[in-house]
Structures are given as structure tokens and as C-alpha cells.
Amino acid sequence: MINKIVQKLADAMAGIKDGSTVLLGGFGAVGQPNQLLDALTEQGAKHLTVVANNAGTGRKGLAGLMAAGRVDKIICSFPRSAGSVVFEELQAAGKLELELVAQGTLAERIRAGGAGIPAFFTATAYGTYIGEGKEVREYDGRKYILERAIKADVALVEAWQADRWGNLRYRTSGRNFNPVMATAADLTIVQTQHIVELGELGPDDIHTPSIYVDRVIHIPYGDPPMAQPMD
């Protein structure tokens, strides 16, 4: 019987090596695999390259991993935001390499990695600082730059529901980067709010098919915090 559900965070993290490239789902406070990130910090793998939209906020989750000195490089689109204090400290100290990528190009490079496309052309960032030095080609009178796929060793994903095969559903904005991250790593590890029986997710209702998932752990941490004052 296929059963990808593991009981302990340590088992979920087993075998992650120094030097790994790690993809992270999540956007804002939603769909962040924070408990997996804390477990990865605990697990101890070093010299990581992290691929995510942001570069962490506060001192937990990704910021905790970075504060523990485990991240050599980050590939992201939005490193500086309110609360990206650890990122800024590490940058100031010259301890963190940054590769800045336009958000859509980031998503597409990872999609390409998961889809067996080693490189593709896009108009995004042509003629800008970010596009400098990249191969340029013209199609139908418009200029495009060549971008390479991103493939990774590990993906950390947060889902709303998962079954024992690893089929996943996300809840509204919890989807974000999670499905694409799940496709582009050798080892995809999922924390899920809910475990459901096999067959409970209808075949037309699955967002991430089980083929992309290696391990699932049940982390019912509850709702994300409010994003803005509501009064």
C-alpha cells in the first residue's frame, strides 16, 4: 500500500543534504510551510540555496533558517519587505548571495524545471537591469530574453488537504507558489492542514496530483493571521 504520510517532522526531513536547492511555497502569510522550515532548521542541512518569492520576514520560518546560517543563496523576486530583517542583516554582512528574478519569470523557470523544459524565451525584464547580459532574440518584431529552468533537490509545500497517495488541494490564496514548487524537486515534502481518505478528493478536483509528492505530514496549525487591521 502506498502511504506517503509520515508521523514525525524528523522523518519528513530525512536525507536532506548540505548544498541542496530548496523550493518554498507560500505568499504573504498564507500557504507557508513554516513548520517544515523550522524542522529543516532543526535537521541541520547547510549551504542551502533557497528559491521562494520572498526572503523571509520576522525571525521564524525561512528567516529562522537564514538566521541559523544555513542559507548561502536566495533566488527570489521580493527580498525586501516589511520585516525582512534577517535578510538585510545577512546582506549587509555579505553572507548571502541574492539572485533577483521577476516574479512571473521565477514561477515560469520553476514550471519549466518541472516540465522538462531547460530554457525558454520571455519578454519580461528585456531592456532592464535584471535582463542585462542575457541572450536576446527577436520574434515577430518583439525582443525576448532566454531564461533557464530551475530544478531543485527539495520542495517544501503547504496544502489544505492531502490523502495517503499525496494528492493535494489548496485553499484559495494558499495555492500561490505551492503547486509549481511541488513539480520541480526530486523530493517534495508537504505539510497539510487536513488528511483525507483516498478517494475523498474527486478526480476533477485535485490541484496537485500525487505523482509530484513524496512525503506528507499532518500539521493542523490553523488559520493565517489577519493581514491588515479590520476596524
Binding site: F27, A102, Q103, T124, Y126, Y129, R175, A227
Partner: protein
């Protein structure tokens, strides 16, 4: 008052022209969005455009983190912290909304499916170049989805102050700051005017009634053509 002091006063007065406020700019832009368009509104003032779309006109707002059919901000009465927009605010979903992943959202954006994207900007040039992502490359900037939106949407409209705080023009012959994208802007809504960008460069569509054409040209860093 002598003629000289009158001219000076006029000039002085013109320097002080505040023009439309941000809400008025947003409302002015909202008028120009027809029913049925799919529109992405950038973070900041652009997002306020959504508040001024007439209630009887269906416009579908896209947010680049995967919402097609974004509604107004949440209140305590309809709180669901799982829903955020690209500005990371808790928003509502319209009836008919669909959620997609970031990769599907940017496929939509890059593929030319948005009728319009409204962005804020620091600078815009008469050839349609604009610079809205960073004022300088000295510190590490964030880029987010601006560059993808800039090249992907059918139309880029900017909503921005006509001049910087020190009075320097932000509508220029050539941008001085790092570009977001070359040659994409179609229209600019400022506190002083609505300006199209055409093959000729800046073309005036509408002026704030508080200002004269000459005073507006003074505050514009490239030739301002009259329509026609």
C-alpha cells in the same frame, strides 16, 4: 499689481497647483474602464481604482498571486485570512472568482490576457518606457510582478504624480531610473492631466482645470502635443 508681479504670481500659483487628489485620479481612471475588462491594479493608488468602478459595471480584477475576480477588502463580518491579494491584504472574492497558482497567474499575465494593468510609477518617458520598481540599484531592490505585468497586459496605464515633491517633472524624454520595461505605457493619469503616449510622444487628453497648457508643459519634461 503690475503685469510682472501678476505673471510671477500666476507662475507661483501654478507651481502650487495641487490638481486632483489621489482619490480623484483613481476615480477619473475608473471611468475609462469598460464593462467586461480583466484588469490588474498595482499595489498602492492603482488598487483604489477598484473602489470607483460604477456598481452597475462588471469589471473583473485580477491579482497576480492567483485571483481572477477580486472584490473589496475584507471586514470583520466576512473575515477569511486564507484570501490575500498581491499586496498581501485580506480581500474578498466576487461571485465568479477563480483561484489559480502563481505559475498559471503569470501565464495569464504574460500571455496578454489582461485588458489592462494600472501601475504607479516614478517616471515615464515619451516613448512609453517607465521606471516604477526602484529609484536606485545601490541597495538591493525588490521587483515582484511589475516587470511581468508591464510586458504582458494589453495596455499599461500609469497613475502617478505629475512632478516629484521638488517640482521636477516625472514625465520625461528619457527615464533616469532603472526601467521596469521599455515602450509599453499607453496612458498616464496624473494629478494635473491625462496624457496618452503615441508615436508622437505625449499627447494631452485632458487637463486639470486649475492649470494652463503652458504651465502643464512647464511641468512636463518632454514635448506635450495637443490631440489631433
Amino acid at each position: 499689481m503690475t503685469a510682472t508681479t501678476a505673471a510671477a504670481a500666476k507662475s507661483q500659483g501654478a507651481n502650487n497647483v495641487r490638481g486632483w487628489g489621489r482619490k480623484e485620479m483613481a476615480a477619473r481612471l475608473a471611468q475609462d474602464i469598460p464593462e467586461g475588462w480583466y484588469v490588474n491594479l498595482g499595489i498602492g493608488i492603482p488598487l483604489a481604482v477598484g473602489d470607483y468602478i460604477p456598481a452597475d459595471r462588471e469589471v473583473v480584477l485580477q491579482s497576480e498571486n492567483g485571483i481572477v475576480g477580486m472584490g473589496p477588502l475584507q471586514t470583520r463580518a466576512n473575515l477569511d485570512t486564507w484570501i490575500v491579494n498581491a499586496g498581501k491584504q485580506n480581500v474578498t472574492l466576487m461571485k465568479g472568482a477563480a483561484m489559480v497558482s502563481h505559475s498559471d497567474s503569470f501565464a495569464m499575465i504574460r500571455g496578454g490576457h489582461l485588458d489592462l494593468c494600472v501601475l504607479g510609477s516614478f517616471e515615464v518617458a515619451a516613448n512609453g518606457d517607465f521606471a516604477n520598481w526602484t529609484t536606485s540599484l545601490k541597495s538591493v531592490p525588490a521587483v515582484g510582478g511589475a516587470m511581468d505585468l508591464a510586458v504582458g497586459a494589453q495596455r499599461i496605464w500609469l497613475i502617478m504624480e505629475h512632478t516629484a515633491k521638488d517640482g521636477k517633472p516625472r514625465l520625461l524624454e528619457k527615464c533616469t531610473m532603472p526601467l521596469t520595461a521599455p515602450s509599453v505605457v499607453k496612458r498616464v493619469y496624473t494629478n494635473l492631466a491625462v496624457v496618452d503616449i503615441t508615436a508622437r510622444g505625449f499627447e494631452l487628453v485632458e487637463m486639470n482645470p486649475e492649470i494652463t497648457f503652458e504651465a502643464l508643459q512647464e511641468r512636463t519634461g518632454a514635448k506635450l502635443h495637443k490631440k489631433g
